[in-house]
Amino acid sequence: MARALNRALRDALADDPSVHLLGEDIGTLGGVFRVTDGLAAEFGDERCTDTPLAEAGILGTATGMAMYGLRPVVEMQFDAFAYPAFEQLVSHVARMRNRTRGAMPLPLTVRIPYGGGIGGVEHHSDSSEAYYMATPGLHVMTPATVADAYGLLRQAIASDDPVVFLEPKRLYWAKGELEPDVPPGGQAVVRRPGTSATLLCYGPAVPVCLAAAESEAARERGWDLAVVDLRTLVPFDDETVCAEVRRTGRAVVVHEAAGFAGPGAEIAARVTERCFHHLAAPVARVTGFDIPYPPPLLERHHLPDANRVLAAVAGLQWED
């Protein structure tokens, strides 16, 4: 996936001279995950810039560049290191278009490697999507496949609105085919059709849900589980999601972020609002616990895995 992202950035730089990349170590080094590998060499320091080490400064100057008409793409080195830029994101990036009655759109992409499962030490594995979802004015995208990594990132950069683009760290090494066209952002995709229950997920949880759905255990229980990859958390694709949930009458939301006030809360709430009388059981949530992200040696107990997903499916009141 890292290579697909690299390719997306490369093509965006090549296609549009107003695209500029900014971040820590993204130039000579090519980023700590090598997502910008080779781009400074190919496009020069001014298109792919190693900034001083200051995240508010990075996002703040990128905002100024976007105000001048450029399309900055910012890399935050890790999820938790985007927090210093929180005020710029919430108070400016998300509001510039609105504030100026549309006169000053802010086409800016903030790439944030997020989530755990890579053995990262403290502050290197946060799932911070709830913060961005709760901030009106931001689009929030997160790919789960190589094709989406390329396709959604191109869409994000081309968007006239700011996009928080969350890259699942542990999928950086995932393999897959590049596809020229993927469905537009804002559209969820059914990764696996199914009739028994619907698993709603995004980013790093998609492979987990697919593994659960394809598992021996699921087959043994006779469960045919649908897996919906949300792809975009804002705007949310109520249509696809609700159609799938209505079909099966049972749903489980799966994500790594803490459960309390996490993304799954919104998903469960809105699905329930819309599909209440189709539901045989309340929408279940399988999430990270409500704790600071644990140290690497303990993270496997924290991260939702196929077993926890299946346990939640089992809890969906099949006896009724």
């Binding site: 100057t61 905002t63 100026t100």
Partner: protein
């Protein structure tokens, strides 16, 4: 640093005494001083009128720049039309002097929109409320202009309190490292709401902060309009020529309370205010102009009349209720409204955004 061009601290330190023009025997500039004065008079009237309008409930709040008009006017006049101004929430007047419609400039403070004017029309960034956050914007914009090869300089305004924010630091550092064509003007009015400078900084001066970024610091008498104009013009010329950013500290004073909602009597003595009233920027420049025969009673009367017209425009523009449409809630949140926003607009019973 590691850079052959790195300058020594001596080149970067500000002047020991604030730069002054008025009262130094400097030759008056007939091209600029009368124009400065004209805007000072208009500006004072603008401030006074706006404060009155808050009392009448026509503005939600007004942070007046009364006493700081020399900085406001010089900042606006120092720029070329192609340049950009980055005002803080106190700098409505600078935007008006630059040409922004005097009523439209008050959208934020009237409360019908969060600024609302088109920043690109006159190259005036939205009035910025979160302190110092506009500084990195100015740096980024100036940097972008340079990357595009455009001859554009940005001037960013901030208060003494704002210099304590991390964004101030990060912006100045980026500007210096990138050699961005940007000038930072600190209007040091001695207070951040109630907090005096001594609780804000222990530095010899705020301009001394420049050294730590490798840019020159300049200190200027902020009530001496020609002095502010000349220091800013030098700094802007330097930036325009590729010399990089400058930090300018202007020593001034806010004669009114922080806003109409504030009670300045709680934190500063009347004698202090009175002392600064004696250094009123209008009086300082007016006296010098008169001394040189550049200001007559007739001219003064004409200026006051012009200023009264401006005040009347304000009163008229703010005298009626602004046109409000609840549908505006959903406008311009995104380029295309999301299905959710359309649904919410429907629920509120307004036309879809």
């Amino acid at each position: 640093m590691g850079d052959a061009e790195a300058r020594s601290a001596d080149d970067l330190l500000p002047e020991p005494e604030p730069h002054r023009v008025l009262g130094t025997g400097a030759e008056p500039e007939p091209e600029t001083w009368p124009e400065l004065y004209r805007h000072l008079v208009r500006g004072r009237r603008y401030n006074t009128q706006a404060t009155v309008l808050t009392r009448q409930g026509r503005l939600a709040v007004y942070p007046s720049s009364t006493g700081q008009e020399a900085c406001q006017v010089a900042a606006a006049l120092a720029l070329e039309p192609r340049d950009w101004l980055f005002p803080s929430y106190r700098d409505t007047l600078a935007a008006v002097v630059r040409g922004l419609d005097p009523v439209a400039a008050l959208g934020l403070l009237r409360g019908d929109w969060h600024t609302g004017y088109d920043p690109r029309a006159l190259r005036i960034a939205p009035l910025c409320t979160p302190l110092a956050t506009q500084l990195p914007h100015a740096v980024g914009l100036a940097h972008a202009a340079r990357l595009r090869g455009d001859d554009v300089v940005a001037l960013a305004l901030v208060g003494d309190g704002g210099t304590s924010e991390g964004d101030f630091h990060e912006a100045l550092n980026f500007a210096a490292v990138w050699r961005a064509p940007v000038v930072f003007l600190v209007q040091n009015n001695g207070y951040a709401i109630s907090v005096p400078l001594a609780k804000q900084s222990a530095a010899p001066s705020l301009a001394h902060k420049a050294v730590g970024y490798g840019m020159p610091g300049r200190l200027v008498d902020g009530n001496d309009a020609p002095a502010v104009l000349s220091v800013l013009r030098q700094a802007l010329a330097r930036a325009r020529a590729g010399g990089g950013p400058t930090l300018v500290e202007a020593l001034t004073y806010r004669l009114e309370a922080h806003t109409n909602a504030d009670d300045a009597g709680r934190y500063r003595p009347d004698a202090e205010v009175a002392a600064w009233q004696d250094r009123d920027p209008l009086a300082l420049l007016g006296a010098e102009l008169r001394r040189h025969g550049l200001l007559t009673d007739d001219r003064e009367a004409a200026l006051r009349a012009e200023a009264d017209d401006l005040a009347a425009t304000l009163r008229a523009g703010l005298g009626t209720e602004p046109a409000l449409d609840p549908a505006d809630l959903f406008a311009h949140v995104f380029a295309t409204p999301t299905p959710q926003l359309r649904e919410q607009a429907r629920r509120l019973g307004v036309a879809s955004a």
